[in-house]
Symmetry: C2
Subunit: 216 residues, 2 copies
């Protein structure tokens, strides 16, 4: 991704330099978009955090929307870094990883808040993060379905597997949301553990099951 301009001399040891500055800005933007939301979060606010004017920020990213995209990509990169390994865990390990993520998230509210605010806003018309969020959900469902294929075997009907994957993501996001709004009322790690176990057990129980809920 090295798109350096030809005219600029590029010494190896650029002292502080663009890349670092851009990262500072992205981090500030993540914080602002997280606390104020994308629409209300202003470039002026972001710029102030890194000691610049908003014009300076625009010099680096061109537009507010481009900055948001940069934030989203940065968040994804951070997520991968969090994994001790380089790749997404598989099988039962994935569920262990999901629980550990929830436990870790309980101590980094900012990250959760940024994710929740942007995801929440993304359902609105023509929101710049919309496609990103959709892709993210699709990918996550895929990972979880793969894990379920390993844990439950191939006998598990496709629709049940999909419902389970959708439920896992849904319940993690939903619990995070309630936790953000009322931390005393919600135990993020333990509620998540309960839900993950419940869904996993139900998936393992698998194909045939009594249906207590249903017709009148």
């Amino acid at each position: 991704m090295q798109t350096g301009p030809a005219s600029t001399l590029r010494v190896r040891g650029e002292r502080k330099s663009t890349q670092e500055r851009r990262q500072e800005i992205v981090r500030a933007a993540a914080k602002t978009f997280g606390t104020k939301g994308y629409q209300k979060g202003s470039l002026i606010d972001i710029a102030a955090q890194v000691g610049m004017t908003h014009a300076g920020v625009l010099h680096h990213f061109g537009s507010k929307e481009a900055l948001l995209i940069a934030v989203l990509e940065y968040r994804d990169a951070e997520d991968l870094e969090t994994l001790s390994a380089q790749k997404m865990p598989i099988g039962l390990d994935l569920f262990v990883h999901l629980y550990r993520t929830a436990a870790a998230n309980a101590q980094r509210e900012g990250l959760v808040q940024t994710y929740a605010a942007i995801t929440g806003e993304s359902v609105t018309e023509d929101h710049p993060a919309r496609n990103f969020v959709i892709s993210r959900f699709t990918a996550l469902r895929g990972y979880i379905e793969d894990a379920l294929r390993i844990v439950c075997g191939p006998d598990l009907p496709d629709d049940i597997r999909t419902h389970a994957a959708t439920s896992v993501i849904g319940v993690m996001d939903g619990i995070q949301l309630q936790w953000l709004l009322d931390k005393e009322a919600v135990d993020l790690p333990e509620a998540t553990r309960f839900a993950l176990e419940a869904i996993l057990v139900a998936a393992i129980a698998g194909t045939k099951r009594a249906r207590p809920l249903g017709e009148a």
Copy 2:
């Protein structure tokens, strides 16, 4: 709540009158706040839907924030109307009701979208809907805990009951969110049914259970 000015003559059969006009506006506002979000949704947009200028809307509600509150109250009233009875069902009936709500919601996207957009935005700083959403979650958790007390008996440890209630709300919201963003990938009623059953079974299984997830 009759705060009519003394100077105005109030004939019983006011022909079209304020209350109806206000309701039109609230409905338009719910639609706009749902599609654009609260921050981006403008009074001008809302006013146009009912054939007025934004000044006209402000005459009725005083401020944009007050209009949002009116929308939230209106939505709650609608929710209660949806219930065939007047009161919230109890015990197992509550879970049946929750499933039916999800099934009904699959055919009224607008309502779901409004709820999701406002709830999503509410995590941001000083958002006018924040307290409303917090109260709503608190009340819902209470209802569900009560239902679980009936279904599972009083032996169920308090923390498990709370985790289950949090999970129920979380999974319903989370599945709705994924459905809004990608309706082909998510079967809202059936995924919800799966999740509700899973959580219910786990709650019934109750107090003692092996813990497949946990330490390293």
